[in-house]
Symmetry: C2
Amino acid sequence: MSATTAKRLNTQYLSAERVAEIVRRKGLANCIAGVASYIRQDFLRWNDFDKCARVASHSDVGVIELMPVSDARSYAFKYVNGHPSNHRFNLPTVMAFGVLADVETGTPDLVSELTLTTAIRTAAMSAVAARALAREDVRSMALIGNGAQSEFQALAFHHLLGVEVFHLFDVDRSATRKLAANLERMGLAWRAFDSVREAVRGCDIVTTVTADKTNATILTADMIEPGMHINAVGGDCPGKTELHADVLKRGPVFCEFEPQSRIEGDMQQMPADFPVTELWQVLAGRIEGRTSAAQVTIFDSVGFALEDYSALRYMRDLALELGMAERLSLIPTLEDPKNLFGFIDADAFVDAALGRLKAEAL
Amino acid sequence: MSATTAKRLNTQYLSAERVAEIVRRKGLANCIAGVASYIRQDFLRWNDFDKCARVASHSDVGVIELMPVSDARSYAFKYVNGHPSNHRFNLPTVMAFGVLADVETGTPDLVSELTLTTAIRTAAMSAVAARALAREDVRSMALIGNGAQSEFQALAFHHLLGVEVFHLFDVDRSATRKLAANLERMGLAWRAFDSVREAVRGCDIVTTVTADKTNATILTADMIEPGMHINAVGGDCPGKTELHADVLKRGPVFCEFEPQSRIEGDMQQMPADFPVTELWQVLAGRIEGRTSAAQVTIFDSVGFALEDYSALRYMRDLALELGMAERLSLIPTLEDPKNLFGFIDADAFVDAALGRLKAEAL
């Protein structure tokens, strides 16, 4: 018991720097592949999870969300914000951290950064979906939106789907220059374009990962070509969309967790009875994904708590493998669990508590 | 800007040991009084807050909850579990930690233990309610349930309401012995009883703070005497009640946040139209509390996120005053917020990422 307790009350801690170091040691591409396989495993046991739409707190300038999910063994949640104007403060648009806890006792087992990890899991999720939905012979991908997510998407699609060339567009040319430089250093081929229309022309996959909290129409139906797979990542909260509604009519639409996606995805533009398929059904072989090479497939991704559960599991396992976890003391260790008072008690203190109080006015 | 950024990305961290040290230095009674005054301030601006019922994940053995709340400046949430059988693992029934974040940017400003702090804020909340609802001449309080919360309740009611003697009862006699010993050391008068009925007889205030996750009837209507104030703390989630339904008919019932209390409080036993008053209305002088010395008043407390917001604010301010906050690095500090990749990038790494991947099978 006491051994159990000791173990349980040592909450593991993964700082942003520590996760970056872990990723450097393991290799980013390996981490994306590893998280992708954890996500796949967890999506295949979809019905083991207690799922709910995330809890969002909206302000004029952004949103702060809590994303809980659990199975019989582990509970996970992510804290994540979305503040498109954060560059004004030289802060990331999206910042996150998360927790894994033990369902049997409620003890938090892991507190980890999730800003970097979210970029990895989002790219991994996109790749898992594309492997199930895109053609097998994909070679080119348009990357519309060249911000913080874009390198991770490129690396995921290069390594997990075999994409060889990336067509880049962003309204912010400095973002495109940044992405191009990073792709160069990874030895990945790219071409920059002056418009979305030019960037997507002839591509096998179109990934939209823009950040504005507006109902934008980055993609219109006339840009969509037969056989394309649309990986729509940036439209992920009410009032934040990237695809013109007609794009969603060009082919079957797939999502993560339907109740959340209907509120937050690009499909928020469609009626409540608009047909949509949860991706896990395709992964489990219950429903067909792409049915022909000429078909257009659309993954309307918003990011679901289960992906963070998978990513937290992966990072915890990897930190263990590399022996790199630190510790936090978030929970007091008590000799007698009913004597919480004893945790602060001390002869000197008790008198002090009363003494000081008399000295101060309430 | 960069100064701002640096400041914002240094998340303050208060470990369980650090909070215990802060409480020892300031004095527990002063901390309870301080949190009580912060709670009062925040309840008086009730309508500034974006409120929602907590998000609970129930299992056979317990519950894990997230409790978010925010105003225009700060966002707070608490992670808290409730596992009545945790003593089997020598773990507390309730363990918690929480976060304060900046609404303007979504940056987490503080991560703090909340196990100890929750005991302090719960006692503070009970005292704030009792000062508004109980008679002015209270001298005795029955403490039904002598677990982790009980010393904090006793200290709060002694210092903030002038209670001089405590009547103790718990089905677990060792818990009563523990509480009695702690009260002795604080110089507080107590008497132990063999039944709830004997313990509450003649008391001005009855505090129930039991832990079983069952519909218990700790208090029945025939035990209630004219002029009593009932401070019902332990009935705080669906299927977990302490008062017989008839007790709630003995006088006006007050709660924290009505939508949550109707689900989680002892009032979950009553019909949806059962009359109940939110405490802030009494604190704000909009609605009368107690109207006569003979009246029975009932505070059906469940614990609301705003109390944790207040407690987190207090602990942050106190840590600042005492210069005792530590730091966490949960969020990566980026030179270019659109270059998250750059946070892990390194010449060696890029080749390694590709190299290692080729070496491993996907």
